[in-house]
Amino acid sequence: MPSEKMLMRGSNVVGEAAVRAGCRYYFGYPITPQNELPEYLSARMLDVGGTFIQGESEVASINMVLGASAAGGRVMTSSSSPGISLKQEGISYMAGMELPAVIINMMRGGPGLGNISASAADYYQATRGGGHGDYRTPVLAPAGCQELAELTFVAFDMADKYRSPVMLLGDGLMGQVMEPVIFPDFIDLKDLPKKDWILNGCEGREPRAIFSMLLGQGELYHHNLDLQKKYDQITAEEQRWETKNTDDADIIVVAYGTAARIAESAMNDLRAEGLAIGLFRPITLWPFPSTAFRELAQNGRKVAVFELCLGQMVEDVVLSVGERAEIYFYGVPGGVIPTPAEVADFLRSVAKGDGEVGRRIDV
């Protein structure tokens, strides 16, 4: 049975959804703005007989995740931008060792210590690997508490299906905001996917070793090609997006997460003024939903990209659309959250083509 409708903070929603999705191991290090999540799980794991460890660092925490994953646990960590930078070594190892886990990133302003406000400046880091080596990490971008709950389930299933770390990319606002949410039912732990590769002692079988170091002639070459096959499959099968008002739209605004919520308000205001704006909201950032977006971005439609940074996802839009459509960009950096009115000014400017707000992307 799904839960009653509850009013909950975004970070707590992820914690409750993780427990309901069968996660029984959490390792993390405090960092604002996502501390409510480890705090929630420190108590919730006691209820369900799970493990919560506050690690001595993000580095230690991601490696506890690595160990628990190798041992077969459904496992999660969470952090925010600077902490995710520290976890990148472990994420690269887990990609190489093909170990599933869910990594929550409630992004804050950067670079460096930056600030603790909502930002979306880690798109490159999330979607381009982040750590060293030729790998990809599936990235899911929720735009509200209900979706935080649902995508947490999706993230665990994808991680197990593809034996890969999966990132849930929110931001400081998404972690702090309170919204009504209905949780999916608890997964019966007996129904979790069976894993025939885990380390649990070699009783009655040959010993297993899980490693990413491949020194033999051609071994690493072939390992990378195998990983790429997996990434190709994910790209073909896992693209997720949402559209609103795109059928009659002259301008399609592209935004994800918190930015999509702001863009949606701006769209609704402009629709009332008679401007035909539609919204394309990527839900998977990697793989970017290129296939669907390419279909939309033609027939003289303009594309307007809005991000809470100075332009990262816009590169994927360009890669998807190329010269099929005029592409405009408006971005706000440094943890500043623009109002829907500011985004509406950008969209009006795109409609007029006057270039007063934002800029035209020269493809």
Partner: protein, 257 residues
């Protein structure tokens, strides 16, 4: 009397060790310690209930030699990885096998905090006072005056800092129940080392807390010595910085001496 004679095997290849030739240099202590670990696990009947974590360093390929489940860890992170494993499988014996750079330089934080949490894990700590795999650079445990490729003229405390005695540091933590420093540079010491390793595993099986055995181990290649001279250097010089013996024993076991 029957013509049959009852034979009892008194020595053989341990089940916990694969029959693969190792890549270790002549005179290196790693193969000795591998064998000791394997013998102890066999004697405890734990081979099929053990999960090990090798280091990044000379023993990075230990999973090719140990005949039980193993998972690679990033450099220094073995005890964090082992923590994750142990929390999923509290009924299994979890060990890390780490060198001095892995355990006492890049992994210092993971080492101290896993120990201080009292994780039910056993660490086999190889101290050879040098970075072996990368070719002889200074280790955190390089002793004063010792030549490494990054301590020209010998380790000078004002230039390079002091050798670290991580075992004694760990002993002050309440999470740690057993710390012993042994050497694998004489037959007598090797026998002592085996007893210490077995006892450290027993601590874990008895759910007492964190246990660690430090093993002073010769590295003839990077010390630029013959194996024989390297063994002598451990016994005569290295023990001055790292005295052998029990550093902490709160096991309450009878054999406490």
């Amino acid at each position: 009397m029957s013509a049959e004679v009852a034979y009892k095997q008194v020595f053989g290849w341990p089940d916990s060790l694969k029959k693969n030739p190792t890549h270790y240099c002549p005179g290196c202590g790693h193969s000795i310690v591998h064998r000791l670990v394997a013998e102890c696990l066999d004697e405890l009947g734990m081979r099929e209930k053990t999960i090990g974590v090798p280091p990044v360093g000379c023993a990075v390929l230990a999973y090719n030699y140990f005949n039980f489940d193993m998972v690679e860890a990033p450099h220094g992170r073995a005890l964090a990885v082992a923590t994750g494993i142990k929390r999923v499988h509290p009924d299994k014996l979890v060990l890390t096998y780490q060198g001095d750079g892995d355990l006492a330089a890049i992994g210092t934080a993971e080492t101290i905090h896993a120990a201080n949490r009292g994780e039910r894990i056993t660490t086999i700590f190889i101290n050879n006072a040098i970075y072996g795999m990368t070719g002889g650079q200074m280790a955190p445990t390089t002793v004063l005056g010792m030549n490494a490729t990054t301590t020209p003229g010998g380790r000078d405390p004002r230039l390079h800092g002091n050798p670290i005695d991580i075992s004694r540091m760990l002993a002050v933590s309440n999470g740690v129940v057993y710390v012993e420093r042994c050497a694998v540079s004489s037959f007598k010491q090797i026998r002592k080392a085996k007893k210490a390793i077995k006892k450290a595993f027993q601590c874990q099986l008895d759910d007492l807390g964190f246990s660690i055995v430090e093993l002073l181990s010769p590295c003839p290649t990077n010390w630029k010595m013959s194996p024989k001279a390297a063994w002598a250097w451990v016994n005569e010089e290295m023990v001055k910085t790292y005295p052998l013996g029990v550093i902490k024993d709160e096991t309450g076991y009878e054999d406490k001496k």
